[in-house]
Amino acid sequence: MITSSPKDREFLLPASPVFIALTLFVALLLDWLPWSGMWLVLRPDFVALVLLYWCTHKPHRVGIGIAWMMGILADVADASLFGQHALAYAVLAFGGIVLHRRVQMFDLRQQTLQIFPLVLLSYTVYAAVHWQLHGYIAWEYFSGSMISTLLWAPLTLLLQALRRPNTDDEL
């Protein structure tokens, strides 16, 4: 590693495509756990978080296309309209790619503040599509975006920790 600061090194950790696919798969599994009632309202969107993580950390690997495809899978699983999650995730991925330099400069607390609008935007896109088609919005839906944002820091730490031992295997 050429860079000096340890924070930059975090962002230069290698990530194999298999590992990326695995994290996305686990995120899907977590999203598809049988949440119900109150827990469903509070459910963070793990897929969105993991996508955002990869879009900010490896923007050339995971981009809008992959986010969109994950969205289609989520649409099928959630019985939402085709393209509803896909649109929300595409917007989220775009935000992540645009902001990835800025996010890389900040520590976790500041990152959390930066990604909150992105997550909220993606939730809003989803809700707006629903509102446009069905004419009402369930406001409690947005509480999920708060929980997701709060989970950003632990998730980032976890993924970084998982990527670090990977370096030995991959190199």
Binding site: F25, W32, P59, V76, D78, A79, L87, V91, R101, A138
Partner: protein
């Protein structure tokens, strides 16, 4: 913004903005097609065959946990349950005999009166895989799909009453829209006086509402609503809801009536899908349906 330049410098394909526009347009197109037409159902079920194993995997921990819980039941509890079930069985058997007699009698009378026979519905037991995948919708997924001959439009109930309706069928799953889903309508009748009405789901709460009932209509608290069977989709006489709140404000033309579903819409694991002969309405059936619709329209016109 420096980023987009660097991307162009290394020539890594279209810029993120271009990709966003492309995928957004694609999403919007899909949204439009999916909302207006039914062209994408086969694609959906094709993708769902990919998604299904993952979904089952995701529900596995909960299923295992539940099964482990079932494994460790006490003998005492089992004995108690058994006794209760046996008592219930005796009661049910007696009722069933009466029912058979009544059915025969009813059939005879209907034949005498030349009324169409009520057809039998076969039932299929299905287990819930998922409850409400989405805050916006009241939907369930059960583990029977087109492989088990489930058809969209079939009615789903538990042992107490109507739960909802099959709205989409995948190979091994089917999606059930609950009666509490926003604007889901069930044609009902009040048991006490036979008043016809339509009960709608209210979306975010577990309540149902009786809409378009005049302020002076004869409805009381605790009135039981059963399906009227008029639309031909729901079999007649299955309990749907009980009235629990009536607000009659003379300022509005209609009373505000809330009902709670009788079936355990939110607390079942096994459901019954009514299948078999979906009453394909022969002529008298469709005639009654038409006359009902006309009558309603006529009434609405005559009101002012």
């Amino acid at each position: 913004m420096e980023h987009t330049e660097s991307v162009r410098f290394f020539n890594r394909g279209p810029s993120p903005a271009a990709r966003l526009v492309f995928f957004s347009l694609l999403s919007l197109l899909l949204l439009f097609i999916d909302a207006r037409y039914k062209y994408l159902e086969s694609t959906r079920s094709a993708i769902s065959t990919l998604v299904y194993p993952v979904q089952r995997l995701a529900t596995l921990p909960v299923t295992l946990w539940r099964e482990a819980g079932e494994f460790f039941v006490t003998q005492n509890g089992l004995i108690h349950d058994n006794e209760q079930l046996r008592e219930q069985h005796v009661l049910d058997a007696a009722r069933l005999q009466q029912l058979q007699m009544l059915q025969a009698e009813n059939g005879q009378l209907r034949k005498l009166l030349d009324v169409q026979q009520r057809s039998d519905y076969r039932m299929q037991l299905a287990e819930i895989v998922y409850v409400e995948r989405d805050v916006f919708q009241r939907k369930l997924f059960v583990d029977k799909g087109s492989q088990a001959n489930v058809l969209p439009g079939q009615i789903v109930m538990d042992d107490n009453g109507i739960i909802g309706q099959v709205t989409r069928v995948y190979p091994w799953l089917s999606e059930i829209t609950l009666v509490t889903d926003k604007d889901h309508a069930v044609p009902v009748q009040i048991v006490r006086n036979g008043l016809r009405a339509i009960v709608f789901g209210s979306g975010d709460t577990g309540d149902l509402s009786l809409r378009y009932m005049p302020v002076n209509s004869d409805i009381q608290n605790d009135d039981e609503l059963v399906t009227s069977g008029i639309d031909g989709t729901y079999p007649p006489g299955i309990p749907v809801a009980r009235v629990n709140h009536i607000e009659r404000d003379p300022a509005y033309p209609f009373a505000r009536i809330l009902c709670t579903p009788i079936a355990g819409v939110n607390n079942q694991r096994f459901l019954l899908i009514l299948s078999g002969e979906r009453k394909l309405p022969p002529r008298p059936e469709s005639a009654t349906e038409d006359s009902k619709g006309l009558g309603k329209k006529g009434k609405r016109k005559m009101l002012p």
